[in-house]
Protein backbone atom coordinates (compact mmCIF):
# COMPACT_ATOMS: atom_id res chain seq x y z
CA UNK A 1 0.00 0.00 0.00
CA UNK A 2 2.76 2.41 1.07
CA UNK A 3 4.66 1.39 -1.99
CA UNK A 4 1.68 2.11 -4.24
CA UNK A 5 1.27 5.59 -2.78
CA UNK A 6 4.95 6.33 -3.30
CA UNK A 7 4.68 5.07 -6.86
CA UNK A 8 1.69 7.28 -7.51
CA UNK A 9 3.45 10.30 -6.03
CA UNK A 10 6.54 9.71 -8.11
CA UNK A 11 4.41 9.44 -11.23
CA UNK A 12 2.60 12.68 -10.42
CA UNK A 13 5.86 14.53 -9.93
CA UNK A 14 7.31 13.15 -13.16
CA UNK A 15 4.18 14.13 -15.07
CA UNK A 16 4.03 17.58 -13.54
CA UNK A 17 7.71 18.45 -14.04
CA UNK A 18 7.52 19.25 -17.75
CA UNK A 19 4.33 21.25 -17.19
CA UNK A 20 6.02 23.23 -14.42
CA UNK A 21 9.04 23.78 -16.68
CA UNK A 22 6.86 25.00 -19.56
CA UNK A 23 4.85 27.21 -17.24
CA UNK A 24 8.09 28.75 -16.03
CA UNK A 25 9.45 29.30 -19.55
CA UNK A 26 6.24 30.72 -20.95
CA UNK A 27 5.56 32.79 -17.88
CA UNK A 28 3.49 35.94 -18.11
CA UNK A 29 6.54 38.05 -18.97
CA UNK A 30 8.53 35.81 -21.28
CA UNK A 31 9.44 37.61 -24.53
CA UNK A 32 7.27 37.42 -27.61
CA UNK A 33 8.01 38.30 -31.25
CA UNK A 34 6.56 41.59 -32.44
CA UNK A 35 6.30 43.02 -35.95
CA UNK A 36 5.13 46.30 -37.41
CA UNK A 37 1.33 46.45 -37.83
CA UNK A 38 1.63 46.50 -41.65
CA UNK A 39 3.38 43.13 -41.52
CA UNK A 40 0.71 40.49 -40.99
CA UNK A 41 1.89 36.96 -41.73
CA UNK A 42 -0.11 34.43 -39.67
CA UNK A 43 3.01 32.96 -38.11
CA UNK A 44 6.74 32.56 -38.65
CA UNK A 45 8.82 29.38 -38.74
CA UNK A 46 11.69 29.04 -36.33
CA UNK A 47 14.11 28.69 -39.27
CA UNK A 48 12.95 31.95 -40.81
CA UNK A 49 13.07 33.66 -37.42
CA UNK A 50 16.65 32.54 -36.83
CA UNK A 51 17.65 33.60 -40.33
CA UNK A 52 16.09 37.05 -39.79
CA UNK A 53 17.70 37.64 -36.40
CA UNK A 54 20.91 36.10 -37.78
CA UNK A 55 20.76 38.95 -40.37
CA UNK A 56 20.74 36.50 -43.26
CA UNK A 57 17.12 36.80 -44.42
CA UNK A 58 16.54 40.36 -45.58
CA UNK A 59 13.03 40.22 -47.01
CA UNK A 60 9.55 39.17 -45.95
CA UNK A 61 7.66 36.79 -48.26
CA UNK A 62 6.01 39.89 -49.86
CA UNK A 63 9.55 41.29 -50.51
CA UNK A 64 9.28 44.10 -47.91
CA UNK A 65 12.80 44.62 -46.49
CA UNK A 66 13.20 43.18 -42.99
CA UNK A 67 14.34 45.63 -40.32
CA UNK A 68 15.64 43.87 -37.21
CA UNK A 69 15.61 45.57 -33.78
CA UNK A 70 17.38 44.13 -30.73
CA UNK A 71 18.12 45.19 -27.16
CA UNK A 72 21.71 45.43 -25.91
CA UNK A 73 23.64 42.19 -25.40
CA UNK A 74 23.60 42.65 -21.62
CA UNK A 75 19.81 43.25 -21.42
CA UNK A 76 18.07 40.38 -19.52
CA UNK A 77 15.12 40.30 -21.97
CA UNK A 78 17.58 39.94 -24.86
CA UNK A 79 19.23 37.03 -23.13
CA UNK A 80 15.93 35.24 -22.48
CA UNK A 81 14.73 35.93 -26.04
CA UNK A 82 17.97 34.64 -27.51
CA UNK A 83 18.10 31.49 -25.43
CA UNK A 84 14.42 30.53 -25.26
CA UNK A 85 13.00 31.68 -28.56
CA UNK A 86 15.95 31.45 -30.95
CA UNK A 87 17.74 28.72 -28.92
CA UNK A 88 21.02 30.54 -29.54
CA UNK A 89 23.26 31.82 -26.75
CA UNK A 90 23.59 35.64 -26.86
CA UNK A 91 27.39 35.48 -27.33
CA UNK A 92 26.90 33.15 -30.34
CA UNK A 93 24.42 35.58 -31.86
CA UNK A 94 26.85 38.48 -31.39
CA UNK A 95 29.64 36.45 -33.04
CA UNK A 96 27.37 35.65 -35.99
CA UNK A 97 26.66 39.40 -36.50
CA UNK A 98 30.34 40.30 -36.09
CA UNK A 99 31.34 37.75 -38.71
CA UNK A 100 29.00 39.49 -41.19
CA UNK A 101 29.76 43.08 -40.19
CA UNK A 102 33.57 42.76 -40.23
CA UNK A 103 33.79 40.79 -43.48
CA UNK A 104 31.51 43.13 -45.45
CA UNK A 105 28.93 40.43 -46.10
CA UNK A 106 26.10 41.69 -43.92
CA UNK A 107 24.86 44.35 -41.51
CA UNK A 108 24.20 44.45 -37.78
CA UNK A 109 20.67 44.74 -36.38
CA UNK A 110 19.56 48.11 -34.98
CA UNK A 111 20.17 48.29 -31.25
CA UNK A 112 17.60 50.00 -29.03
CA UNK A 113 18.18 50.88 -25.39
CA UNK A 114 14.82 49.94 -23.81
CA UNK A 115 11.67 47.94 -24.40
CA UNK A 116 9.70 51.18 -24.74
CA UNK A 117 11.99 52.25 -27.57
CA UNK A 118 11.72 48.77 -29.11
CA UNK A 119 7.92 49.05 -29.17
CA UNK A 120 8.06 52.58 -30.58
CA UNK A 121 10.55 51.68 -33.37
CA UNK A 122 8.82 48.45 -34.39
CA UNK A 123 5.45 50.26 -34.48
CA UNK A 124 6.68 52.98 -36.83
CA UNK A 125 9.17 51.12 -39.07
CA UNK A 126 7.76 49.22 -42.05
CA UNK A 127 9.03 45.62 -42.18
CA UNK A 128 10.22 45.80 -38.57
CA UNK A 129 10.69 42.75 -36.35
CA UNK A 130 11.69 42.71 -32.70
CA UNK A 131 10.68 41.25 -29.35
CA UNK A 132 9.10 42.44 -26.12
CA UNK A 133 8.18 41.12 -22.72
CA UNK A 134 4.56 39.99 -23.08
CA UNK A 135 3.34 42.62 -20.60
CA UNK A 136 4.85 45.41 -22.74
CA UNK A 137 2.91 44.53 -25.90
CA UNK A 138 0.14 46.97 -26.89
CA UNK A 139 -2.05 47.35 -29.96
CA UNK A 140 0.51 49.47 -31.83
CA UNK A 141 2.54 46.35 -32.61
CA UNK A 142 1.59 42.90 -33.85
CA UNK A 143 2.44 39.77 -31.91
CA UNK A 144 3.76 37.04 -34.23
CA UNK A 145 3.45 33.39 -33.14
CA UNK A 146 6.42 31.09 -33.83
CA UNK A 147 5.52 27.81 -35.50
Amino acid sequence: MKRQVLHCLARCILLCLPILAIADEQGADSPVIIVSPQQTPAAISKNALRAMFGMRLRNWPDQTPVHVFVLRDDNPTHSVFSKQILNIYPHQLRLAWDRLVFSGTGQAPTEVSSEEEMREQVAKTPGAIGYLSRSMVNDRVHMLPVQ
Binding site: S45, N47, R50, R56, R94, G104, Q107
Partner: protein
Protein backbone atom coordinates in the same frame (compact mmCIF):
# COMPACT_ATOMS: atom_id res chain seq x y z
CA UNK B 1 63.55 47.42 -57.45
CA UNK B 2 61.78 46.46 -54.26
CA UNK B 3 61.51 50.12 -53.32
CA UNK B 4 59.86 51.01 -56.63
CA UNK B 5 57.37 48.17 -56.17
CA UNK B 6 56.67 49.46 -52.67
CA UNK B 7 56.08 52.97 -53.89
CA UNK B 8 53.90 51.61 -56.68
CA UNK B 9 51.76 49.73 -54.21
CA UNK B 10 51.71 52.84 -52.01
CA UNK B 11 50.50 54.84 -54.99
CA UNK B 12 47.75 52.40 -55.76
CA UNK B 13 46.88 52.31 -52.06
CA UNK B 14 46.67 56.07 -51.85
CA UNK B 15 44.58 56.05 -55.02
CA UNK B 16 42.18 53.55 -53.47
CA UNK B 17 42.13 55.60 -50.26
CA UNK B 18 41.47 58.80 -52.21
CA UNK B 19 38.62 57.22 -54.18
CA UNK B 20 37.25 55.82 -50.92
CA UNK B 21 37.40 59.26 -49.24
CA UNK B 22 35.76 60.92 -52.22
CA UNK B 23 32.99 58.31 -52.22
CA UNK B 24 32.47 58.87 -48.47
CA UNK B 25 32.24 62.65 -48.92
CA UNK B 26 29.80 62.32 -51.80
CA UNK B 27 27.71 59.92 -49.72
CA UNK B 28 27.77 62.19 -46.66
CA UNK B 29 27.02 65.40 -48.56
CA UNK B 30 24.28 63.89 -50.66
CA UNK B 31 22.72 62.12 -47.67
CA UNK B 32 20.10 64.84 -47.02
CA UNK B 33 19.03 64.56 -50.67
CA UNK B 34 18.25 60.90 -50.26
CA UNK B 35 15.19 59.52 -48.59
CA UNK B 36 15.21 58.55 -44.91
CA UNK B 37 16.00 54.99 -46.02
CA UNK B 38 19.47 56.05 -47.09
CA UNK B 39 20.72 56.76 -43.59
CA UNK B 40 18.84 53.76 -42.28
CA UNK B 41 20.67 51.40 -44.59
CA UNK B 42 24.10 52.89 -44.02
CA UNK B 43 26.18 51.52 -41.15
CA UNK B 44 29.60 52.32 -39.75
CA UNK B 45 31.51 49.98 -37.48
CA UNK B 46 35.05 49.63 -36.29
CA UNK B 47 37.51 48.40 -33.72
CA UNK B 48 40.82 49.36 -32.16
CA UNK B 49 43.15 47.00 -30.30
CA UNK B 50 46.49 47.59 -28.64
CA UNK B 51 48.71 44.73 -27.60
CA UNK B 52 51.76 44.25 -25.43
CA UNK B 53 54.17 41.32 -25.90
CA UNK B 54 56.85 40.06 -23.56
CA UNK B 55 59.16 37.13 -24.31
CA UNK B 56 61.74 35.25 -22.28
CA UNK B 57 63.81 34.50 -25.39
CA UNK B 58 63.38 35.47 -29.08
CA UNK B 59 61.50 38.55 -30.32
CA UNK B 60 57.81 38.54 -31.14
CA UNK B 61 56.17 41.67 -32.63
CA UNK B 62 59.06 44.03 -31.89
CA UNK B 63 61.83 43.93 -29.28
CA UNK B 64 59.76 41.95 -26.84
CA UNK B 65 62.53 40.78 -24.49
CA UNK B 66 63.31 42.54 -21.19
CA UNK B 67 60.76 45.38 -21.10
CA UNK B 68 58.42 43.97 -23.72
CA UNK B 69 57.00 45.64 -26.83
CA UNK B 70 53.92 47.69 -27.67
CA UNK B 71 54.45 47.23 -31.44
CA UNK B 72 51.12 45.47 -31.92
CA UNK B 73 48.14 47.58 -33.02
CA UNK B 74 45.03 46.73 -35.00
CA UNK B 75 42.59 49.45 -36.06
CA UNK B 76 39.77 49.01 -38.53
CA UNK B 77 36.81 51.04 -39.73
CA UNK B 78 34.15 49.93 -42.15
CA UNK B 79 31.06 51.21 -43.91
CA UNK B 80 28.27 49.22 -45.49
CA UNK B 81 25.32 50.41 -47.47
CA UNK B 82 22.25 48.70 -48.91
CA UNK B 83 21.06 50.89 -51.81
CA UNK B 84 18.68 48.03 -52.69
CA UNK B 85 17.57 45.21 -50.46
CA UNK B 86 19.53 42.70 -52.56
CA UNK B 87 22.64 44.80 -53.01
CA UNK B 88 25.26 45.59 -50.39
CA UNK B 89 28.33 47.76 -50.89
CA UNK B 90 30.93 47.56 -48.17
CA UNK B 91 34.53 48.40 -47.46
CA UNK B 92 36.95 48.32 -44.54
CA UNK B 93 40.23 50.11 -43.99
CA UNK B 94 42.71 48.33 -41.77
CA UNK B 95 45.76 49.73 -40.03
CA UNK B 96 48.04 47.12 -38.50
CA UNK B 97 51.38 47.26 -36.76
CA UNK B 98 53.17 44.05 -35.74
CA UNK B 99 56.88 44.37 -35.11
CA UNK B 100 59.33 44.59 -38.00
CA UNK B 101 57.14 42.47 -40.30
CA UNK B 102 54.44 45.13 -40.38
CA UNK B 103 55.82 48.50 -39.22
CA UNK B 104 52.40 50.13 -39.74
CA UNK B 105 50.48 50.05 -42.97
CA UNK B 106 47.02 51.08 -43.97
CA UNK B 107 45.29 48.85 -46.46
CA UNK B 108 41.90 48.22 -47.97
CA UNK B 109 40.96 45.06 -46.08
CA UNK B 110 37.91 44.44 -48.23
CA UNK B 111 35.89 46.45 -50.71
CA UNK B 112 33.08 44.62 -52.36
CA UNK B 113 29.70 44.55 -54.00
CA UNK B 114 27.45 41.76 -52.73
CA UNK B 115 24.41 40.92 -54.84
CA UNK B 116 21.81 38.45 -53.61
CA UNK B 117 20.27 36.66 -56.58
CA UNK B 118 17.77 34.63 -54.60
CA UNK B 119 16.62 34.92 -51.03
CA UNK B 120 13.74 33.19 -49.27
CA UNK B 121 13.04 31.32 -46.06
CA UNK B 122 15.28 28.38 -46.93
CA UNK B 123 17.74 29.74 -49.52
CA UNK B 124 20.13 32.55 -50.16
CA UNK B 125 22.35 32.59 -53.24
CA UNK B 126 24.48 35.41 -54.54
CA UNK B 127 27.72 36.85 -55.86
CA UNK B 128 30.47 39.03 -54.42
CA UNK B 129 32.75 41.10 -56.60
CA UNK B 130 35.84 43.05 -55.57
CA UNK B 131 38.26 42.51 -52.73
CA UNK B 132 36.63 39.69 -50.78
CA UNK B 133 37.85 38.16 -47.50
CA UNK B 134 39.14 34.59 -47.84
CA UNK B 135 36.85 32.19 -46.01
CA UNK B 136 39.34 29.70 -44.57
CA UNK B 137 38.50 27.75 -41.43
CA UNK B 138 36.43 29.32 -38.64
CA UNK B 139 38.33 32.54 -37.95
CA UNK B 140 40.12 33.86 -41.03
CA UNK B 141 37.50 36.25 -42.43
CA UNK B 142 37.60 38.42 -39.29
CA UNK B 143 41.11 37.50 -38.13
CA UNK B 144 42.05 41.08 -37.22
CA UNK B 145 39.01 41.75 -35.03
CA UNK B 146 39.93 40.75 -31.48
CA UNK B 147 36.27 40.31 -30.45
CA UNK B 148 35.79 37.53 -33.00
CA UNK B 149 38.96 35.65 -31.99
CA UNK B 150 39.14 33.22 -29.11
CA UNK B 151 42.56 34.58 -28.10
CA UNK B 152 44.98 37.44 -28.77
CA UNK B 153 46.92 35.32 -31.26
CA UNK B 154 44.98 32.98 -33.48
CA UNK B 155 46.40 29.44 -33.48
CA UNK B 156 49.44 30.07 -35.66
CA UNK B 157 49.46 26.60 -37.19
CA UNK B 158 46.22 27.17 -39.11
CA UNK B 159 46.29 30.99 -39.24
CA UNK B 160 50.00 31.90 -39.57
CA UNK B 161 50.58 35.64 -39.17
CA UNK B 162 53.97 35.14 -40.83
CA UNK B 163 52.28 34.71 -44.25
CA UNK B 164 49.02 36.45 -43.43
CA UNK B 165 48.88 38.60 -46.59
CA UNK B 166 48.12 35.48 -48.66
CA UNK B 167 45.18 34.50 -46.53
CA UNK B 168 43.66 37.98 -45.98
CA UNK B 169 41.57 38.56 -49.10
CA UNK B 170 41.46 38.05 -52.85
CA UNK B 171 40.67 40.46 -55.68
CA UNK B 172 38.14 38.63 -57.79
CA UNK B 173 34.75 36.99 -57.80
CA UNK B 174 33.07 34.78 -55.26
CA UNK B 175 29.75 32.92 -55.27
CA UNK B 176 27.87 31.95 -52.14
CA UNK B 177 24.92 29.78 -51.26
CA UNK B 178 23.03 29.20 -48.02
CA UNK B 179 20.49 26.50 -47.46
CA UNK B 180 18.50 26.20 -44.24
CA UNK B 181 17.04 22.78 -43.56
CA UNK B 182 15.52 21.05 -40.55
CA UNK B 183 18.83 19.15 -40.25
CA UNK B 184 20.88 22.34 -40.01
CA UNK B 185 22.17 25.16 -42.20
CA UNK B 186 24.67 24.78 -45.03
CA UNK B 187 26.88 27.62 -46.28
CA UNK B 188 28.95 27.24 -49.44
CA UNK B 189 31.50 29.74 -50.78
CA UNK B 190 33.46 29.38 -54.03
CA UNK B 191 35.93 32.05 -55.07
CA UNK B 192 38.56 32.84 -57.67
CA UNK B 193 40.91 35.78 -57.48
CA UNK B 194 44.32 37.21 -56.76
CA UNK B 195 45.41 37.05 -53.11
CA UNK B 196 47.69 39.74 -51.76
CA UNK B 197 51.40 38.95 -51.75
CA UNK B 198 53.43 41.27 -49.56
CA UNK B 199 57.19 40.80 -49.96
CA UNK B 200 57.98 42.01 -46.48
CA UNK B 201 56.17 39.00 -45.05
CA UNK B 202 56.70 36.31 -47.67
CA UNK B 203 60.43 36.73 -48.32
CA UNK B 204 61.54 36.37 -44.69
CA UNK B 205 59.18 33.40 -44.24
CA UNK B 206 60.36 31.48 -47.29
CA UNK B 207 63.99 32.68 -47.48
CA UNK B 208 64.73 33.80 -43.92
CA UNK B 209 65.43 37.41 -44.99
CA UNK B 210 64.45 40.17 -47.44
CA UNK B 211 65.65 39.51 -51.00
CA UNK B 212 65.76 41.94 -53.93
CA UNK B 213 63.19 40.04 -56.05
CA UNK B 214 59.42 40.32 -55.75
CA UNK B 215 56.48 38.00 -55.13
CA UNK B 216 53.39 38.23 -57.29
CA UNK B 217 50.18 36.29 -56.80
CA UNK B 218 48.55 34.40 -59.63
CA UNK B 219 44.91 33.37 -60.04
CA UNK B 220 44.04 31.31 -56.95
CA UNK B 221 40.97 29.38 -55.83
CA UNK B 222 39.15 28.98 -52.57
CA UNK B 223 36.16 26.96 -51.43
CA UNK B 224 34.53 26.29 -48.09
CA UNK B 225 31.50 24.31 -47.03
CA UNK B 226 30.29 25.22 -43.55
CA UNK B 227 27.58 23.42 -41.62
CA UNK B 228 25.77 24.72 -38.53
CA UNK B 229 23.40 22.71 -36.44
CA UNK B 230 20.90 24.27 -34.05
CA UNK B 231 21.94 27.87 -34.65
CA UNK B 232 25.65 27.13 -34.25
CA UNK B 233 25.68 24.65 -31.36
CA UNK B 234 27.67 22.39 -33.67
CA UNK B 235 29.75 23.93 -36.45
CA UNK B 236 31.76 21.99 -38.99
CA UNK B 237 33.66 23.14 -42.06
CA UNK B 238 35.87 21.90 -44.87
CA UNK B 239 38.09 24.41 -46.67
CA UNK B 240 40.25 24.00 -49.73
CA UNK B 241 42.52 26.84 -50.79
CA UNK B 242 44.92 26.85 -53.71
CA UNK B 243 47.20 29.88 -53.57
CA UNK B 244 49.50 30.35 -56.56
CA UNK B 245 52.55 32.59 -56.33
CA UNK B 246 55.49 33.59 -58.52
CA UNK B 247 58.82 34.84 -57.29
CA UNK B 248 60.54 37.07 -59.82
CA UNK B 249 64.26 37.21 -59.16
CA UNK B 250 66.30 40.38 -59.55
CA UNK B 251 68.79 38.06 -61.32
CA UNK B 252 71.53 38.95 -58.84
CA UNK B 253 73.64 35.86 -58.11
CA UNK B 254 73.02 33.97 -54.85
CA UNK B 255 73.50 34.80 -51.93
CA UNK B 256 71.99 38.22 -52.63
CA UNK B 257 69.04 36.70 -54.52
CA UNK B 258 67.71 33.29 -55.55
CA UNK B 259 66.58 32.37 -59.08
CA UNK B 260 62.91 32.86 -59.99
CA UNK B 261 60.42 30.22 -59.03
CA UNK B 262 56.81 29.51 -58.28
CA UNK B 263 54.95 28.23 -55.23
CA UNK B 264 51.63 26.44 -54.96
CA UNK B 265 50.28 26.41 -51.41
CA UNK B 266 47.29 24.10 -51.07
CA UNK B 267 45.79 23.65 -47.63
CA UNK B 268 42.82 21.46 -46.80
CA UNK B 269 41.35 22.52 -43.46
CA UNK B 270 38.87 20.45 -41.46
CA UNK B 271 37.13 22.34 -38.66
CA UNK B 272 34.82 21.22 -35.88
CA UNK B 273 33.31 23.12 -32.96
CA UNK B 274 30.82 22.38 -30.20
CA UNK B 275 29.27 25.29 -28.29
CA UNK B 276 27.48 24.77 -25.00
CA UNK B 277 26.18 27.60 -22.85
CA UNK B 278 29.30 27.84 -20.72
CA UNK B 279 31.98 26.09 -22.73
CA UNK B 280 33.18 25.53 -26.29
CA UNK B 281 35.44 22.90 -27.76
CA UNK B 282 37.16 23.64 -31.08
CA UNK B 283 39.56 21.70 -33.26
CA UNK B 284 40.96 22.37 -36.71
CA UNK B 285 43.26 20.12 -38.71
CA UNK B 286 45.09 21.16 -41.84
CA UNK B 287 46.98 19.20 -44.45
CA UNK B 288 48.97 21.59 -46.60
CA UNK B 289 50.93 20.71 -49.71
CA UNK B 290 53.55 23.29 -50.62
CA UNK B 291 54.92 22.72 -54.08
CA UNK B 292 57.95 24.70 -55.22
CA UNK B 293 59.32 24.88 -58.72
CA UNK B 294 62.42 26.74 -59.81
CA UNK B 295 64.53 28.72 -57.27
CA UNK B 296 67.51 26.86 -58.79
CA UNK B 297 66.35 23.73 -56.93
CA UNK B 298 64.71 20.49 -58.02
CA UNK B 299 60.89 20.56 -57.92
CA UNK B 300 59.79 19.74 -54.42
CA UNK B 301 56.55 19.13 -52.54
CA UNK B 302 56.36 19.42 -48.77
CA UNK B 303 53.46 17.74 -46.99
CA UNK B 304 52.77 19.98 -44.03
CA UNK B 305 50.48 19.17 -41.12
CA UNK B 306 48.96 21.56 -38.61
CA UNK B 307 46.30 21.23 -35.97
CA UNK B 308 45.06 22.62 -32.69
CA UNK B 309 42.57 21.67 -30.06
CA UNK B 310 41.07 24.39 -27.91
CA UNK B 311 38.69 24.54 -25.00
CA UNK B 312 37.14 27.67 -23.57
CA UNK B 313 35.02 28.14 -20.49
CA UNK B 314 32.74 31.11 -19.73
CA UNK B 315 32.50 31.57 -15.98
CA UNK B 316 30.06 34.44 -16.48
CA UNK B 317 29.11 36.74 -19.35
CA UNK B 318 32.17 38.78 -18.34
CA UNK B 319 34.90 36.19 -17.83
CA UNK B 320 36.24 33.51 -20.13
CA UNK B 321 39.24 31.17 -19.87
CA UNK B 322 41.02 29.37 -22.68
CA UNK B 323 43.37 26.41 -23.03
CA UNK B 324 44.87 25.32 -26.36
CA UNK B 325 47.48 23.02 -27.79
CA UNK B 326 48.66 24.03 -31.25
CA UNK B 327 51.07 22.12 -33.51
CA UNK B 328 52.68 23.02 -36.82
CA UNK B 329 55.05 20.82 -38.89
CA UNK B 330 56.74 22.10 -42.07
CA UNK B 331 57.03 18.46 -43.18
CA UNK B 332 54.92 15.82 -41.56
CA UNK B 333 57.46 13.19 -42.61
CA UNK B 334 60.24 15.10 -40.85
CA UNK B 335 58.65 16.24 -37.60
CA UNK B 336 61.92 17.10 -35.83
CA UNK B 337 63.16 19.09 -38.85
CA UNK B 338 66.51 17.27 -39.04
CA UNK B 339 66.30 16.41 -42.75
CA UNK B 340 65.00 19.86 -43.73
CA UNK B 341 67.74 21.59 -41.75
CA UNK B 342 70.43 19.41 -43.34
CA UNK B 343 69.39 20.40 -46.87
CA UNK B 344 68.31 24.02 -46.22
CA UNK B 345 69.88 26.57 -48.59
CA UNK B 346 69.65 29.25 -45.89
CA UNK B 347 71.14 27.16 -43.07
CA UNK B 348 68.20 27.46 -40.65
CA UNK B 349 68.18 25.26 -37.53
CA UNK B 350 66.10 22.06 -37.18
CA UNK B 351 63.70 23.71 -34.68
CA UNK B 352 62.77 26.25 -37.37
CA UNK B 353 60.65 23.55 -39.04
CA UNK B 354 58.11 22.94 -36.30
CA UNK B 355 56.31 24.67 -33.42
CA UNK B 356 54.29 23.23 -30.56
CA UNK B 357 52.47 25.83 -28.53
CA UNK B 358 50.62 25.46 -25.21
CA UNK B 359 48.40 28.49 -24.68
CA UNK B 360 46.33 29.55 -21.71
CA UNK B 361 44.36 32.76 -21.67
CA UNK B 362 41.83 34.87 -19.84
CA UNK B 363 39.31 37.34 -21.28
CA UNK B 364 37.48 40.03 -19.36
CA UNK B 365 34.49 41.47 -21.26
CA UNK B 366 34.04 44.62 -19.17
CA UNK B 367 31.19 45.94 -21.30
CA UNK B 368 30.04 44.64 -24.71
CA UNK B 369 32.21 47.32 -26.37
CA UNK B 370 35.40 46.92 -24.35
CA UNK B 371 37.53 43.91 -23.54
CA UNK B 372 40.82 43.05 -21.85
CA UNK B 373 42.68 39.85 -22.58
CA UNK B 374 45.88 38.21 -21.34
CA UNK B 375 47.52 35.01 -22.46
CA UNK B 376 50.63 32.93 -21.97
CA UNK B 377 52.30 30.71 -24.55
CA UNK B 378 54.94 28.06 -23.90
CA UNK B 379 56.42 27.29 -27.31
CA UNK B 380 58.78 24.59 -28.52
CA UNK B 381 60.09 25.53 -31.98
CA UNK B 382 60.12 28.76 -34.00
CA UNK B 383 58.02 27.84 -37.06
CA UNK B 384 55.96 31.05 -36.80
CA UNK B 385 58.50 33.32 -35.11
CA UNK B 386 58.75 36.48 -37.27
CA UNK B 387 62.11 36.32 -39.07
CA UNK B 388 62.42 40.12 -39.37
CA UNK B 389 62.18 40.51 -35.56
CA UNK B 390 64.92 37.85 -35.27
CA UNK B 391 67.41 38.58 -38.06
CA UNK B 392 69.67 35.63 -37.15
CA UNK B 393 67.42 32.58 -36.81
CA UNK B 394 70.39 30.54 -35.60
CA UNK B 395 70.69 32.89 -32.65
CA UNK B 396 67.21 32.01 -31.34
CA UNK B 397 66.05 29.66 -28.60
CA UNK B 398 64.10 26.52 -29.35
CA UNK B 399 62.05 26.79 -26.14
CA UNK B 400 60.53 30.18 -25.38
CA UNK B 401 57.80 31.86 -23.36
CA UNK B 402 55.46 34.49 -24.75
CA UNK B 403 53.14 36.65 -22.66
CA UNK B 404 50.58 38.91 -24.32
CA UNK B 405 48.07 41.51 -23.13
CA UNK B 406 45.51 43.22 -25.32
CA UNK B 407 42.89 45.90 -24.82
CA UNK B 408 40.21 46.13 -27.47
CA UNK B 409 37.37 48.54 -28.20
CA UNK B 410 34.63 48.19 -30.79
CA UNK B 411 31.68 50.16 -32.10
Amino acid sequence: MTESICSQSNNSLSRITRIGCLACWIMLYSAPLWSFDFAENLQFHGFASQGYSLTSENNFFGHSQNDGSFDYTEIGANASWLPLNHLQLSGQLLFRRAGETQPGNLLLDYGLLDYTLLSDETNRWGLRLGRVKNPTGFYNETRDVAFTRPSILLPQSIYPDSIRSLSLSSDGLSAYGERRTEYGDFFLTLGAGYPQAIDRELEPFFFGERLPGTFKSKLSYISRLLYEWNGGQVRAAVTYFKANLDYNSSNAPFPSDVPSGSLKIQPWIFSLQYNAEHWSLTGEYSLRNVNSQGFGQPTNTLSQAAYYIQGSYRFSPHWEALLRYDVDYADRNDKNGKKLAASDLFGRPDYYWFAKDWTSGLTWNIIPEFMLRAEYHYVDGIRWLPALDNPDLNDTSRHWNLFLIMASYRF
